[in-house]
């Protein structure tokens, strides 16, 4: 099975519902042919609206959508040749699996024999051969999901849009489908936009992640970039767990918490306030006397990792250790420890970095 793949450009895209802030504002995004991009953000950040504008289901208030240089903005939905998988799958309940998958081909006037072949091929791709005459209601959630995927892919779309396709599946199935979707997308080389609020899903699937916040693009980058070098405190908090500490620069320009200097890579003008953010796995715990003094307030064993909460003068952080690493086993609640981290792993944001 082949599928087309196009180069998608969103230029200054904006959607204003007339009440409150725009749902999407000044969105610029370029997605290369064959690339898998995740639109990640909390609910209400505009990611679904963006996806529906690309599909043609929502009319943009301003801006343009280009696919391979073609301006799609004024093209009605049914002429766009875009495959979309909906959150609730949106399978046609009055049609069989085969009819569902054949629908898009029928709309394109494809000959009956070719429809049969391509439907069979698409169902084979999602491993549903033999389910042709079933009704959607007679399928499990995962199977429905795969029918929806086959239905979107069989039309050889220029672009594949996935709207939280995994959110209605249970945890185990979700991970399985994650792999399956990625594998099919790679094999077909189809340009894909994937909307999700689940950062783990975005990190695992996407070539690049576009983190959205209140209608704006907060950061665009590879999973590593977004996770390791978040552009804003919002991105840092939304992608993965992180500790945030309020600090102020002392006379020597070094940032201090509760008067004690903390390791960071840079110097700041005296008196400036900043937020220092450190991932839990970068926090080191050592003998008291070195770096910040703190006391263990809780130890939570969560299987793969153990989380150690510590609190000191004017701050509290959580450190994380793999349970294979036995260094935490000596610790007990109430014990004094020294808290530190490598200066290179500290992210420093000026105060109000989130405010706009």
């Amino acid at each position: 099975m082949t599928a087309g793949g196009g180069n998608l450009v969103l230029a200054g895209l904006r959607k204003d519902y007339g009440v409150g802030d725009p749902a999407v504002d000044r969105l610029d995004l370029e997605i290369a042919k064959g690339e898998f991009v995740a639109l990640l953000g909390p609910s209400g950040c505009g990611k679904t609206t963006t996806l529906r504008m690309i599909a043609g289901l929502v009319e943009p208030s301003a801006g343009r959508i280009l696919l391979d240089g073609d301006d799609l903005t004024a093209k009605p939905v049914h002429r766009r040749n875009i495959g979309m998988v909906f959150q609730n799958y949106a399978l046609f309940p009055h049609m069989t699996v085969a009819d569902n998958v054949a629908f898009g081909l029928e709309m394109r006037g494809v000959a009956a024999t070719e429809i049969r072949d391509r439907v069979a091929e698409a169902l084979a791709l999602v491993r549903l051969t033999g389910f042709e005459s079933r009704r959607p209601k007679a399928l499990s959630g995962g199977q429905q999901q795969r029918v929806a995927l086959a239905r979107a892919l069989v039309i050889r779309p220029d672009l594949l849009l996935l709207d939280e396709p995994l959110s209605n599946l249970d945890a185990k199935l979700r991970e399985e489908m994650r792999g399956e979707i990625r594998e099919i997308q790679k094999r077909l080389g189809i340009t894909t936009v994937f909307v999700t609020h689940d950062q783990a899903e975005a990190l695992a699937l996407a070539d690049r992640i576009a983190v959205m916040e209140r209608g704006r693009l907060a950061q665009l980058g590879s999973p590593e970039e977004v996770y390791e070098r978040p552009a804003t405190p919002f991105v840092a908090r939304f992608v993965g767990r992180i500790n945030a500490l309020a600090a102020a620069a002392g006379g020597d320009g070094r940032l201090r918490i509760g008067g004690q200097p903390v390791p960071t890579g840079d110097l700041r003008p005296a008196g400036t306030k900043a937020t220092v953010m450190i991932r839990p796995q970068h926090i080191t715990l050592s003998q008291p006397g070195i770096s910040l003094l703190a006391r263990v307030t809780g130890i939570t064993y969560v299987g793969d990792v153990v989380q150690i909460a510590v609190a000191g003068d004017g701050f509290s952080v959580v450190a994380e250790r793999g349970t294979a690493d036995s260094s935490w086993r000596g610790l007990a609640v109430g014990q004094d420890v020294g808290v530190g981290w490598p200066a290179s792993s500290a992210l420093v944001f000026p105060e109000n970095a989130d405010g706009r």
Partner: protein
């Protein structure tokens, strides 16, 4: 709960069911009476009242009128009500709630008041005791149900499936024909059946707008019960009940079958 209590509760419930069903069951029983007057239990049994029923000119005429009337009413209800229901359930426009409230407003009015109002307005317009008058009158009390049922059926359609069809290349007209229409069909069938039964059974409003030349079956029945009490009415009632039950069963079957196809 104690066993005695449970048994007592069961018996109580059974008695309440007897109360609900007794009139209907006894009508059925007494239709086979051979007596001249209603007395229960009858002294003699037979089918003489069924024979009399089918020879009764007034009932036969009323039956034809009611059947014609209900058919016209259902057809017009669908023609007028389905587009309105579609607009209410599927389109976005200012005043949508007000429209639904207006179209279902006749249900708020007692039928006795509505019947009188129709009499007053139909008389000078020469619509009293005519088919157009009866059709308008029956539409007023059936259209609200059609609009409401079809609108509900449309608004409970699984979300996004019309959008999905559009992304697959279906034009708006095709989406309506291939997706929306088949999925709203069970609602339309249910609405038609209810409208038919309501129109066929309607008596209060009809009493005000019928005339000697054009009268419906329920009105004939009402007048007959008012005047005489013999078992012929029971025979007619039995026929009507059986007709209603079979209509309901047919609808249940067809809607059930369509459900099975649809869901």
């Amino acid at each position: 709960m104690s066993r005695v209590g449970t048994v007592a509760a069961r018996i109580g419930i059974a008695l309440l069911y007897v109360f609900i069903l007794a009139p209907i069951v006894l009508v059925f029983a007494i239709s086979f009476s051979g007596d001249n007057f209603i007395a229960f239990p009858p002294k003699t049994w037979g089918v003489r009242w069924y024979v009399a029923l089918f020879a009764h000119e007034g009932f036969a005429r009323g039956f034809r009128v009611s059947l014609t009337l209900a058919s016209i009413v259902v057809a017009l209800d669908l023609l007028v009500g389905v587009p309105a229901a579609y607009a209410i359930a599927r389109l976005r426009f200012p005043g949508r709630d007000a429209l639904l409230a207006f179209l279902t407003a006749p249900l708020l009015l007692p039928t006795i008041v509505l019947g009188l109002a129709m009499l007053l307005v139909f008389y000078p317009l020469r619509l009293a005791a005519t088919y157009p008058g009866l059709v308008i009158a029956h539409m007023a009390v059936t259209l609200p149900f059609v609009v409401r049922i079809v609108a509900t059926a449309l608004s409970t359609l699984p979300g996004d499936i019309e959008d999905a069809a559009a992304t697959l290349g279906a034009s708006p007209a095709t989406v309506f024909r291939r997706i929306t229409l088949p999925l709203m069909l069970p609602g339309v069938v249910a609405a038609s059946a209810l409208a038919f039964i309501l129109s066929f059974d309607e008596v209060v409003i009809s009493l005000f707008v019928v005339g000697p030349r054009l009268s419906t079956l329920p009105v004939e029945l009402f007048r007959y019960v008012e005047g005489r009490t013999d078992p012929m009415v029971a025979a007619l009632s039995t026929v009507l009940i059986l007709a209603t039950v079979s209509a309901v069963l047919i609808v249940e079957r067809s809607v059930g079958v369509m459900r099975a196809l649809g869901r």
